[in-house]
């Protein structure tokens, strides 16, 4: 049976269409994916992301363990910083993409819902008898995201600490109605906004307060169209155990100089392998959307495969992310996509498809 977040009843009561995602019953949409997407781009949207895994690390060997499994350099992080990175297998393939938080008293990591058990197992396997306590706090906490140009303003006075003072990709522990929580200036939409981790017992009151303040509840459908426009990868689509960070366009999250980590040797070889397919953005000429699995063709030959695609509300075109042979990755490269038997014209487009206006 799928897990439920503390907000499950609210989602159902307010018309959320529930589907199973990563082992959890989550709302795909309430009324309209397009309306929810537009609310995030124009005002503020509210997401229940409690399904994501929240892990904490304490003990003298926490940094060493994190550095061993993580592709980015945790040692270079300052307290209060949040950093994106990959956890790789020994072949250099991606086990998960994660956010690491550094605190004066320890570390935290947010992982994908679908990979939570896998990553907890991986960490425990590599911990051995070192001085580190890993706690999975997913079931006793909640996580909400408020995203959009009005998000920060809407959250004024919500927590003791002022979210507007937080720099991008920074976080701070603070209090919501007297109880400890964490706010971070992070998100998965391409808009400004915050993510809040709080005690599960406060989930409903926090959610309802944010709705009263004007944040529009949004489901996973809008979450997907927003992140696609911002060209953010999704595990299980652009990232998998068989794809390495260089193929995925995530070289910036891999610090080969930081010291050894699991997968580093394989990544040294893979980085130099000019035959591996690489992630690109595609823009199709027509209105039919390319979907995951659609073949990308050139001169009648299969040169790649779509990993995510739809027609998105802001860009308002059929866009997709795909892996193609390295010879065809330059922006402007013409190709075709086989969409359910019909061949559609397309070309490689620069990423991201959408960038928020500078304020």
């Amino acid at each position: 049976m799928a897990l439920r977040t503390p907000l499950y009843d609210w989602h159902v009561q307010y018309g959320g269409r529930m589907v199973e995602f990563g082992g959890w019953d989550m709302p795909v949409q309430y009324a309209s994916i397009v309306e929810e997407h537009q609310a995030v781009r124009q005002a503020a949207g509210l997401f229940d992301i409690s399904h994501m895994g929240r892990l904490s690390f304490s003990g003298a060997d926490s940094l060493a363990l994190i550095q061993q499994v993580y592709s980015n350099n945790a040692a270079a992080m300052k307290d209060g910083q949040v950093r994106y990175g990959l956890i790789c297998n020994e072949r250099g393939g991606i086990r998960d993409d994660v956010l690491v938080y550094r605190w004066p008293y320890g570390w935290a990591m947010v992982v994908n819902a679908s990979n939570r058990d896998k990553i907890v197992g991986w960490l425990n396997q590599h911990k051995k008898d070192r001085a580190v306590e890993i706690a999975d706090q997913t079931m006793t906490t909640c996580m909400l995201a408020v995203q959009g140009p009005q998000a920060l303003q809407l959250c004024r006075g919500l927590t003791e600490a002022d979210a507007e003072q937080l720099a991008y990709y920074h976080a701070t522990p603070t209090r919501y109605r007297g109880k400890g929580c964490v706010i971070s200036r992070t998100g998965y939409t391409g808009e400004d906004g915050i993510e809040i981790m709080a005690s599960a017992v406060q989930a409903m009151e926090l959610w309802e307060e944010l709705v009263r303040r004007g944040a529009k509840p949004c489901g996973l459908g809008a979450r997907d169209t927003l992140r696609l426009e911002a060209a953010m990868p999704l595990y299980g689509h652009e990232l998998s155990e068989e794809i390495d960070p260089f193929q995925a366009g995530l070289a910036w999250a891999v610090k080969m100089d930081k010291g050894d980590f699991i997968g580093r040797d394989a990544l040294l070889r893979r980085r130099e392998d000019a035959t591996l397919p690489r992630r690109v953005g595609l823009e199709l000429a027509g209105r039919r959307a390319a979907r995951e699995g659609s073949a990308v063709l050139r001169d009648g030959r299969n040169i790649g495969r779509v990993t995510s695609g739809t027609v998105t509300p802001t860009v308002n075109k059929a866009i997709a992310l795909a892996y193609v042979e390295p010879a065809f990755t330059a922006a402007g490269t013409v190709c075709t996509v086989d969409v359910r038997g019909k061949i559609e014209e397309a070309h490689v487009a620069p990423l991201p498809f959408y960038r928020r206006p500078k304020s």
């Binding site: 459908g221 959307a289 027609v311």
Partner: protein, 128 residues
């Protein structure tokens, strides 16, 4: 079109017969289920179609669904307005959002399709 005068397929198409021309569309229930429609793929005029055959596709942000003909005949008209504005089907599913017209055999009826009452029973049980 008045929904009370129409007949319905299990797959949520509605049909209206005038002489030997049958107009076909999608019900409000189906359109509401789909939400966010981005594209409707319709056939060519003169294409033959058999009852139960797919004649096109309707695509929403999340998924693609087939459109099924409730009758047998030849396609005489296709709603070209839907090509440029697929949202017509959401705003007026029984009127401006019609999909295709099919010329059926003389004497053909819609008796094999559900009445509004029967269709409403079906969707009530689908929603549980």
């Amino acid at each position: 079109m008045d929904p009370k005068t129409l007949r319905y397929a299990k797959t949520h198409e509605w049909a209206s017969l005038e002489g030997d021309v049958c107009t076909i569309g999608l019900t409000k229930f189906a359109v509401d289920q789909l939400t966010d429609i981005i594209y409707i793929d319709l056939p060519d005029i003169d294409d033959p179609v058999a009852a139960g055959d797919s004649f096109g596709e309707i695509e929403s942000v999340k998924a693609v669904s087939d459109l099924y003909s409730p009758v047998e005949g030849d396609i005489t008209a296709v709603n070209e307005k839907l090509e440029t504005d697929p949202t017509l089907i959401s705003s007026d599913p029984y009127g401006k959002g019609w999909l295709i017209k099919v010329k059926v055999e003389k004497g053909a009826t819609l008796d094999h399709l559900m009445t509004l009452e029967q269709y409403e029973k079906q969707i009530a049980s689908e929603e549980h």
